[in-house]
Symmetry: C2
Subunit: 183 residues, 2 copies
DNA sequence: AGCGAATATCTCGCTCGACGAGATAATAGG
DNA sequence: CCTATTATCTCGTCGAGCGAGATATTCGCT
């Protein structure tokens, strides 16, 4: 039967000592640490987690050359329209973004990141990115392939995990596990 | 002048095309995906992000054979005592944990995870962990060392990052980073 | 053109997680 | 024992995000 490990205490299922677990926990630790890093950036600039996620989404879009509308941003963050409006009010009030009426479709509100916010982000996340690149330079192609493969595999596993309906998955993953959307 | 990339649009600083950036972004994507995975677990079980983090902290402690008190848990999550009490009320109400008065020090409240919650977590995160282990088995020691090294390095970089404590700007930016703690 | 349906965002009222301040209970020290 | 300290809980409040619905703009159909 199950061996007791701590008399007088919980069963405390034995730990799973496979050597691979070390890396699995390490990955989780990195994810947590990156989250805390963002949180630090947030509170340091009087923002909340959502605001930071929004800025990142906006910069990603900018980098990709696409314009980000209020609706798309809200969808990307899993917020409904009311929450999105509140988010934009906050970001705009803080001077991080600017609302611009859509040129083609004037119902839309295109959200543009202020140069200052970009700079703010770069100054905070830049060093971490540089350090990461530096670390990666120390590995050969065989190793880089492993890192890529492992991260890509975990990402897929975490993303695809138990989805009952294997319907056409849009290119950039929908809100996942969430879809408040109104209207 | 900086070369224009998109006429009629923002300056949109050019993308940083270094090949290492692919992995950097991949790591970020994994972190995001793991976060969403937890969020999925949370909403599927009518919990919030904090509740899941709490359960994880509790199970980590359990695995390490330490007992987790209300105070230590709150500190680990960055909650103040009021928030911690509310959190425990929620978790206990949902039947995921149990409050037990400290045996030695009866002021303390030891939080114990119910077996059902452990099972719930295992059934949700288990497959992802198994898949990760499986992926890792496909690499040789040289590659595993790279994965470990990279993740460990990024973790350190994200954790240690800039904390020079410039000047205690009390009233305006108190929570800075972490440790609300009251008392 | 003209009108109703669809779409994009905003406004209002509410819920609930988290905070600050302080109350209560138990322990440790002299 | 009496006081300082520690651990948790209670109470009142703030604010992020939700649901419902209002408003503005565009699209499709006849």
């Amino acid at each position: 039967m199950a061996p007791e490990t701590e008399p007088g205490s919980e069963p405390a299922a034995q730990p799973d000592t496979r050597p691979e677990m070390e890396i699995v926990h390490l990955l989780r630790a990195v994810a947590v640490e990156l989250g805390l890093h963002s949180a630090r950036f947030a509170s340091r600039n009087r923002m909340h987690a959502t605001d930071v996620r929004a800025l990142i989404a906006l910069m990603d879009a900018r980098r990709a050359g696409e314009e980000m509308t209020a609706g798309r941003l809200g969808a990307a963050l899993g917020l409904n329209s009311a929450g999105t409006t509140a988010l934009l009010d906050r970001l705009e009030g803080a001077g991080h973004v600017r609302r611009v009426r859509g040129a083609a479709d004037r119902r839309k509100v295109v959200v543009e990141v202020e140069e200052g916010a970009v700079e703010l982000g770069r100054s905070f996340f830049g060093p971490l990115i540089e350090r990461s690149v530096e670390l990666l330079r120390g590995y050969d192609d065989h190793q880089l392939a492993a890192i890529r493969g492992f991260l890509g595999g975990v990402r897929q596993a975490a993303a695809a995990e138990q989805s009952p309906a294997p319907s056409p998955s849009r290119s950039s993953a929908p809100p996942a596990g969430r879809s408040p959307r109104d209207t």
